[in-house]
């Protein structure tokens, strides 16, 4: 990834009738970046991607590609390619005809096209499928053909709209690695859409968390996970305990009546805040060693850890631990000061959709 801004979205707004889908969205994508748009269903991810791809024009704002305004350029004149969510293969053509489509339009020589088909099929691990028809392939294979069809055109940017959405867990994980490998091999920019937070955390250089047409936070996966900017991001990225609290003074927060040491400063005295504590950051200890005490109310085995609910100070705390504490046992809860994430409370609903400068 370089610092060179490849695509710049400036003040993009888009509505369908009364439904405001995107509101003054600002975002840039750097060369060679793996950028993921992450958010719940209907938050405007696909719409953003379609505006970049040229299938929708924004009501307001500009799309800048390498310094040039391409807002009104039709898709066939843009130097980027799209992998559609439902593959969108040409069912009346063989696999090699599908892959060759873009190259034939560009009037490449027969030799060149032949080489490219071979190369692309090798890249997606589907050698020997040249003469098959798309509907004789499995979902995952069709998806890989869709990717092959896009990359033979050597786009500067590849747009991928939930490309793994239709696949089962195992295949999805395999394809995640394939995609990362592909991206490294090709050295191009990926703009990736998903509503699966795990997928976003594993694959991306940068994650853009969206909600209701607003960008909630932009950052690296670590930033987003460890330092969510607001309750929405914290809640959307993984399980977490989000508790309305009061900042007593610098480095001390009052959570449900008990003071917890923390590391944050600059919030002022007796300021209402939201506190985020990840379930794996709560240590269950002997009652006398904990900051607060509680009782285990439920226990589920999750494979690599146990998930427990602990009732303490009138709140159900979600705790992940590899140690087993049976239901009913008295435990102490200890949280390291570094693991307490303090966030400003939104004062209005609009502010929940904060715009963030990176």
């Amino acid at each position: 990834m370089t610092d060179n801004k490849l695509i710049n979205l400036e003040n993009i707004s888009k509505s369908y009738g009364d439904n405001i889908v995107l509101d003054e969205l600002n975002l840039y994508i750097r060369e060679n970046e793996f950028l993921t748009l992450l958010g719940p269903s209907g938050c405007g991810k696909t719409t953003t991607l379609r505006i970049i791809g040229g299938f929708e024009t924004p009501d307001q704002g500009r799309v800048i590609f390498e310094g040039k305004d391409i807002t009104n350029l039709p898709p066939n004149e843009r130097q980027l390619n799209t992998v559609f969510q439902k593959y969108a293969l040409f069912n009346h053509m063989t696999i090699s005809e599908n892959i060759a489509f873009g190259l034939k339009i560009k009037k490449k020589s027969k030799e060149y096209i032949k080489d490219k088909i071979k190369y692309a099929l090798k890249l997606v691990n589907l050698e020997g499928y040249e003469n098959r028809m798309p509907d004789s392939l499995s979902g995952g294979q069709q998806q890989r053909i869709a990717i092959a069809r896009a990359i033979v055109n050597e786009p500067k940017v590849l747009l991928l709209d939930e490309p793994l959405g239709a696949l089962d867990l195992k295949l999805r994980q395999d394809m995640q690695y394939e995609l990362i490998r592909l991206k490294n091999e090709l050295g191009i920019t990926f703009i990736y859409v998903t509503h699966d937070q795990e997928e976003a955390l594993t694959m991306s250089d940068t994650i853009v968390v969206m909600n209701q047409g607003y960008i909630q936070q932009i950052g690296t996966p670590e930033d987003i996970y460890n330092e969510p900017k607001n309750a929405f991001v914290a809640d959307f990225i993984g399980d977490s305990n989000i508790i309305a609290s009061t900042m007593v003074e610098d480095r001390l927060v009052n959570i449900l009546g008990t003071n917890f040491p923390c590391v944050d400063t600059g919030f002022g005295r007796n300021q209402p805040v939201d506190v985020v504590i990840r379930p794996e950051d709560i240590d269950l200890v002997k009652p006398e060693d904990g900051i607060i005490q509680g009782r285990v109310t439920s226990l589920i085995f999750k494979g690599v850890h146990y998930e427990m609910d602990v009732m303490a100070n009138g709140h159900e705390w979600l705790v992940h631990s590899t140690d087993l504490f049976p239901v009913g046992s008295e435990v102490g809860l200890y949280v390291d000061p570094f693991d307490i994430q303090i966030m400003n409370k939104p004062t209005s609903e609009d502010e929940e959709a904060v715009e963030i400068e990176e």
């Binding site: 040229g54 039709p74 898709p75 066939n76 559609f84 009346h92 063989t94 955390l201 996970y225 690599v304």
Partner: protein
Amino acid sequence: MKVPLNVKNKMFQKPAKDSDKEFKIGRVNQVKLLSFPYIIWMVGFIIIPLLMILYYGLTDRDNNLTFKNIALISDPINRKALLLALELSLISTIICLLLAYPLAMVLRKNHKTSNSFIVLIIILPMWMNFLLRTIAWQNILEKTGIINSILQFFHLPTLNIINTSAAIILGMVYNFLPFMVLPIYNVLVKVDKDVINAARDLGANGRQTFLKIILPLSIPGVVSGITMVFVPSLTTFVISTILGGSKIVLIGNVIEQQFRLGNWNTGSGLSLVLMVFILFSMAILSKYDKESEGSNLW
């Protein structure tokens, strides 16, 4: 990068149902049972009449095997009637296709709600009796008919197309156009918007997208449209009788006359010839249909 992730809960997967298989077997029997009325219908009203035509067509009045009935197609009058029928139905089919395809494209682009209205307008004439509609055209086109009355009122030259091939073609197009529009429209609306977007994305302009994606994907609809217009046009005798007068005789009229005169053997023999032509044209069409699904349209 190391980020703790949730592990999906694998403990609660439902076991596959045992009853699935039994259910399937039960269904097959049920389906067979449901098709029973249709099978009776088919045997009684399609297979048996076809066999009877075959029998009459290949025998003479004394039930002796003969090819004379079929050979009658080479009679100058019959041959002329067949060729004219082929020509007129071919022209009507082409006109229908030229009218229907653009209309279906427009319908595809439009919003769904206004579509059902337009489709209704296309289908509406079909709710009226076929004979009535054709007679209405006769009244409109007649020498002293509606069009000519209006033209005369404005002192314009009158239109003399009644009892000509043109009138018959008009009747065929008017009556059979919906059968061309609907199948084409049906395949076109099923073309996924993102398939078209994908073609654009890969560099195709509007024309290329149409020629390489939309047109080949719509061939099955075009083929069934052609069949549904060409076959009834080729065999019609009602339209040619009403709009063609006594001067223009199509093969349908010849066959109808033979049956009317009691010459079942001749009528059946000529019908068999006509059937061969229809089967032949359908064979060509279905081959073309298969090809489009395969490849080689480049």
